[in-house]
């Protein structure tokens, strides 16, 4: 390969990388500015170290991630078919109902900060339906952010088992 060909290839490679990155991250605004919105959950999947996968909220999960301009966030994920509480009173929940609700839903909120360089969102939790989350610094890495789609990963699960949760959201209309 002569020098001119090598340069051409490297230019083409660079262009290819820039174009593919352009498809994953819009480039004109900061990540923080692009993030501010309500996002609807389309996929939630936990991947364990041995490769096994789990969808705690089912194949068609319901959920939302909201980020506001002042730095507040709210996350909630739930199975669409959680059992209703037969007593229609949350204080009279049966053990089976309570277990199903907790296995099939989670909600937490607080404040957030975006590190643009590492594409990482640091969450400062105010509270969670799973309070153990408050003991582990919660980080979400942005792996894609376009006008329509947001993808996050979470490697800060409380169990510390090396698993990663992959979230996919679409911008709420």
């Amino acid at each position: 390969m002569n020098r001119s060909n090598a340069l051409n290839i490297s230019v083409i490679t660079t262009l290819g990388l820039v174009l593919s990155l352009g498809g994953t991250f819009a480039q004109t605004k900061s990540l923080k500015d692009q993030l501010v919105a309500a996002w609807t959950l389309t996929s939630w999947e936990q991947v364990f170290k041995d490769g096994t996968k789990r969808q705690d909220f089912g194949p068609n999960p319901k959920g939302v991630a909201s980020f506001d301009a002042n730095g507040h966030f709210f996350f909630m994920f739930a199975k669409p078919d959680l059992p209703k509480i037969a007593a229609t009173d949350r204080t009279k929940v049966t053990p089976q109902e309570a277990q199903a609700i907790n296995l099939g839903s989670i909600a937490y909120f607080g404040t957030y900060a975006v590190d643009e360089a590492s594409k990482t969102i640091a969450l400062q939790l105010e509270s969670s339906t799973y309070p153990n989350q408050l003991s582990v610094p919660q980080k979400r890495v942005i792996t894609a952010l376009t006008a329509d789609e947001l993808k996050l990963t979470n490697a800060t699960t409380t169990a510390g088992d090396g698993s990663t949760i992959n979230f996919v959201f679409k911008r709420a209309k």
């Binding site: 919105a37 309500a38 909201s66 059992p83 009173d89 949350r90 309570a98 839903s105 153990n132 709420a172």
Partner: protein
């Protein structure tokens, strides 16, 4: 707390924070937009109630209310809680989200998901 009183408490909190008497009703839909931090939700979530209420200008909302002293799970794993831990969570927290609209002084919700599953898919109205 029943559904009506829970929603009324929320609506009143939101309206008291967002609304001043000089505004026309049409202004309410605009004024309610924002993130609101819970100040009080009655006795149901004491002590140290925590909560947040978000209304977005595209009509999305989310609400979360909870006791400040919910128990941590001994297993440190959300899928391996004990029966008392799960019960305490359900009794001491409530979160839901969906879309909202304002008509006059009525606040209408369409609930898409809730930790109180009886509400999922419902369309409560408050005023």
């Amino acid at each position: 707390m029943n559904r009506r009183s829970a929603l009324n408490t929320l609506a009143m909190t939101a309206v008291a924070l967002a609304f001043t008497a000089s505004h026309a009703n049409a202004q309410l839909a605009k004024d309610i937009v924002g993130t609101w931090t819970l100040v009080s939700a009655g006795d149901a979530y004491e002590p140290n109630a925590k909560g947040s209420l978000i209304f977005e200008n595209n009509g999305r909302f989310s609400i979360i209310l909870m006791r400040g002293n919910l128990p941590k799970y001994a297993s440190n794993n959300r899928t391996q809680g004990t029966a008392p831990e799960y019960k305490a969570t359900v009794e001491g927290s409530l979160a839901y989200f969906g879309t909202h609209s304002v008509s006059g002084t009525d606040l209408n919700f369409h609930i898409e998901g809730s930790t109180f599953p009886n509400w999922t898919g419902s369309e409560p109205k408050t005023n």
